[in-house]
Symmetry: C2
Subunit: 268 residues, 2 copies
């Protein structure tokens, strides 16, 4: 069982990812494909006259404000456009893919982060109406039903709150949580850098191996921006029984095969 | 087993439909919900600068031209926005819904109608690049896997062509085809009129019963516009073993319960 996370930032070669996934399926592997959607959501939100709003938390972290309208556009773009175009591509390659989201079958349950504490023009503010969340539970029954019926699940990063609301969740963390729930042999997280870099953004400074028990140390020393979440998810997954997590370059030929051969940062 | 088709034209009370579906599920019924998407696709296509283009066929039938960009917007709106908001609403009502489309798991296989023969300014033209199709085969394995695992499937009207392309298909025909494949006891098609009308648009002229063996005669005499496809689907479904098809008003309170009590046009 291999969980592959691809896309979200628009730079990953999604055709190459699908080719690799189809190849793995033909070799008899069970695969779950998880994707993103933030980049295209920003583009389409802007076209629809509702451009993304970025806010800075009191701890200095910059994030997207997901109000209800943004959440609905995110659901449309991620679970509609990106998910179904991936399913179409896989179907053409002979893979019987089924597209779902973490909302479906309560696959991903998340705690809604309804209030953001932000800093704007030097002042602290409370921003309400946020529709994003942190995954706390995976109900794998839907994935198990699909996998045992011979389908390849393609998962959009939505979740359901305890109150039954749709939420936007981080795709990398979703892949790690799914890998953990399915006790996957391997989780491959494809991104637009070769892996964790010792001197970001110098791509030649790739760290090839992170021992799981020292991951927190690596995270604090080397991870910048979104790499922090990838590494956090990786640590959670490995400590819960996933064989290894590989953070690897999604911009190359055969990105999944290269990752599985160890090109990237392996956390184990 | 009941298949319910709701929505597509923006007038149906979708909250009332979900309440009814949740009630049926609590009574132990198996339900499949099929929805539309054309109306909202027209709205969002226009907002995205790609307004719908309507064409007149050589036989005088007016239809929407689904070029590739329209197909992608349709997938986004129907399988992303409408489908996931329905799933969210059902989840809040305690129903463990799973949203899919006819593309997923090759649920609906359709013959692509890639060329339209149209009349424009009095001249006959051939219009290529159409992405809609006519459902020819239902592969019910995905629905069966979901139903036997206890999920309620919510289906967006996309299909897959024999060449693996995503296609836009008619939601009413999709519901009838699914009802037929699952040998449903009943298919309920909710619309924005009370049923088949003897004197369209006089709503008091409702035809309460159409015997299946005389349906073609009723179709030719009374069905106008989109009602033709509803009746066509109904005839196909009933002749393939579905107990009855009910075309009923979706604008009322308890629309599904009312339909099941026989308010509407019953084809049996």
């Amino acid at each position: 069982m291999i969980v592959v996370k691809a896309g979200g930032n628009g730079e990953i070669d999604i055709e190459a990812v699908c080719d690799d996934v189809a190849h793995l399926v033909r070799q008899g592997e069970q695969v779950v494909l998880v994707h993103g959607g933030s980049h295209e959501t920003d583009v389409i939100s802007t076209q629809l006259g509702h451009p993304p709003r970025f806010v800075t938390s009191v701890s200095g972290h910059v994030s997207r404000y997901t109000d209800r309208r943004t959440l609905e556009i995110f659901a449309m773009v991620a679970a509609g456009r990106i998910n179904k175009l991936l399913v179409e591509r896989l179907q053409r390659l002979g893979v019987n893919a089924v597209g779902i989201s973490g909302l479906d079958g309560r696959l991903l349950e998340a705690k809604r982060k309804s209030v953001l504490r932000i800093v704007e023009n030097g002042k602290r503010k409370v921003l309400r109406g946020e529709y994003s969340g942190k995954i706390e539970r995976v109900n794998p029954q839907l994935l198990q039903a699909l996998l045992s019926a011979g389908f390849l699940p393609v998962v959009a990063p939505l979740a359901v709150s305890y109150e039954g609301e749709a939420l936007n969740v981080d795709g990398d963390r979703a892949a790690a949580a799914i890998g953990k729930a399915l006790k996957a042999e391997c989780v491959v997280i494809l991104t637009n850098v070769p892996g964790l870099l010792r001197d970001f953004p110098d791509e030649s400074s790739l760290i090839r191996f992170v021992p799981a028990d020292r991951a927190t140390e690596y995270l604090e020393r080397y991870a910048k921006g979104r790499m922090k979440r990838k590494l956090l998810g990786a640590v959670e997954a490995v400590s819960a029984g996933v064989g290894r997590v590989i953070i690897a370059d999604g911009r190359t030929d055969q990105p999944v095969h290269r990752a599985l051969r160890g090109y990237g940062t392996v956390i184990a």
